[in-house]
Symmetry: C2
C-alpha cells in the first residue's frame, strides 16, 4: 500500500460550476481517479491524468469498494456525488463498505468534503421555505419499507416541520409519490404550500409553487426536489415580472403551536 | 430608485474560505455594502468600495430593512450569514421584512445564494451521520415556546430521524440544553450516539462523539452543532491515529423499523 493514496468523498453541488466549493475543486484537480454514478462523473471535464469510472445507479456498495481498493493501491480517488455527499448520496455507502471491508482500508486517508445540497439550492431559489425547523426524507422505497415512509410523513406533519423530499418519483415506482401526496393532504390540509424545484442551477431548471390540493404526482420526476411548508409557511408575489412567488417559513412560532 | 441596486442574501459557509462558493465570492466582489451580524461581517476582508455594516444579534428584522432600503437606493447589497442563508439565518428575516415592508421593495432584484450549512460541514467531518432521513431543529426558545421544542424532539425520536441541532446552548438559557438531553435520553435511550461539532473548518475546530448517557450540557456552546443518530446509526474507529471515530447512518432500513 502506498502512503500517497487517498479517498475524498466530495459533493459537486446541484449543477452549476459556480456552486462547487474551492475545496472540492482542488480535490478534483489532484485526483487520479473519479468514481461515481455515470451522470455525475460526466460532469467532470476530462483531463490527462484523471480516469473517470462511471457506474450504474444502485451499485453504491460495489462503487465504494472499488474506490477504497484504488486508494489502497496508492491512487488519489474522488468519489463524486451530486449536491452534498452526506445527504442521500455516496457518503453512507463508503462508510458501510469501509466498516464491512478489509481491515487495512481503515488506515487510509479518508475525508468527506461537504457541498451545497439540492435541498439548500432549491430552498434558496424559492426564498427561505426551510427557514425554521424542518426534516428531510428520501421518498424512495428501494431500501426501506413504504410503511416507514408513511409513518415518518405523518409524524413530520404532527411535528409541523417544513419538509424536503428527495427521490419523489421514478419510473419503477410511479404510485409512491401519489400515496405520499394523499398522506400529506390528509395530515396537512389542501391549502398547505408545496414546491417543486427541478434541476436547480442547471439549464433545465424549473420551479413551481402550488398547494397540496392542486398538486399532482406528474409535477415531480427524479430530478425534482419537493418541499412542503409548515403550517406557518407563507407565500407572496415576488413583484418582478416572471419571478412568481417567494415562499418562506418565519423564524418564530406562537405559543399556540405547541398545543396544536 | 436606481435600476442598478440589488440584494443578495448569501451564505459564507461554516468558516473556511475553501467552503465559500464561487457564486457567493462573486457577489461579495461586486457588492457596495455588506450587512450582517458583527462576527460574520468581520469575516469579509475590508476593501475600497465595500462598506461593512455589522449589527447585533437579535436585530434581524431591522438589519433586513436596512439592507432592503439600501438596495432600493441603488446600492449593491449582500446580506451575509454563516453557513447557508436559508437555515436558521437571514433568509427568513429578509422575506419577513419584504412581505411586511414598503410595496416598492418587491420590485427589487433579490436573490438567495446557497452555502454549505454548518450541519453539512459537521456531518462531513464525522462521516455521514445524516446519511438517511433526518431533521434539523433550532433549540433556541427565543422565538418559539419551549413546549414546541420538546414536542418536536419527541416526535423526531418516534420517527427515528437522525437529528441536527442549531443553537443548543447560550449563556442566557443554560438550562434548555440539559432539558433537551433529558428528553432525548428518555426517548432514544442512553446508548444512542450524540456528536458535538464545534467551529468546523476554523482553527478552533473540535469534534466529540459520545452517547446520550455520557453527554453533558457543557459539551456544547453556541458555536457547536449537535447531532444525534437514529436507532440505526453506527460508530467505528477510524483506524488512523488521532482521528477518532467515523459515524454514519446506513442507507437502508429493515422492515421492522416501520413498526417500532
Amino acid at each position: 500500500m502506498s502512503a500517497e493514496g487517498w479517498l475524498k468523498i466530495i459533493g459537486l453541488g446541484p449543477g452549476s460550476e459556480e456552486l462547487i466549493t474551492p475545496e472540492a475543486s482542488s480535490a478534483l484537480g489532484e485526483a487520479t481517479d473519479a468514481v461515481g454514478y455515470v451522470p455525475y462523473v460526466e460532469r467532470l471535464a476530462p483531463r490527462l491524468g484523471l480516469t473517470r469510472h462511471g457506474s450504474d445507479n444502485r451499485e453504491e456498495i460495489r462503487r465504494a469498494e472499488q474506490a477504497l481498493m484504488m486508494a489502497a493501491e496508492g491512487r488519489r480517488v474522488v468519489v463524486v456525488s451530486s449536491g452534498d455527499p452526506g445527504v442521500f448520496a455516496m457518503g453512507a455507502a463508503v462508510f458501510e463498505a469501509l466498516e464491512a471491508g478489509r481491515p487495512e482500508w481503515r488506515a487510509l486517508d479518508i475525508q468527506v468534503l461537504p457541498g451545497v445540497s439540492a435541498m439548500l439550492a432549491a430552498s434558496a431559489r424559492l426564498g427561505a421555505p426551510l427557514g425554521h425547523d424542518f426534516c428531510c426524507l428520501n421518498l424512495s422505497d428501494n431500501l426501506k419499507p413504504w410503511a416507514l415512509i408513511e409513518k415518518r410523513l405523518r409524524l413530520a406533519a404532527e411535528a409541523d416541520f417544513a419538509m424536503a423530499f428527495y427521490n419523489p418519483r421514478s419510473r419503477s415506482r410511479p404510485e409512491g409519490f401519489a400515496r405520499a401526496l394523499a398522506v400529506l393532504r390528509e395530515a396537512c390540509g389542501e391549502a398547505r404550500p408545496i414546491m417543486f424545484a427541478r434541476a436547480i442551477s442547471t439549464p433545465q431548471e424549473s420551479v413551481r409553487v402550488t398547494s397540496l390540493g392542486e398538486a399532482t404526482p406528474e409535477m415531480a420526476d427524479m430530478r425534482t426536489l419537493v418541499m412542503v411548508g409548515s403550517s406557518l409557511t407563507r407565500r407572496f408575489p415576488a413583484g418582478r415580472e416572471g419571478e412568481g412567488e417567494w415562499v418562506y417559513t418565519p423564524r418564530s412560532a406562537p405559543s399556540s403551536e405547541a398545543t396544536r
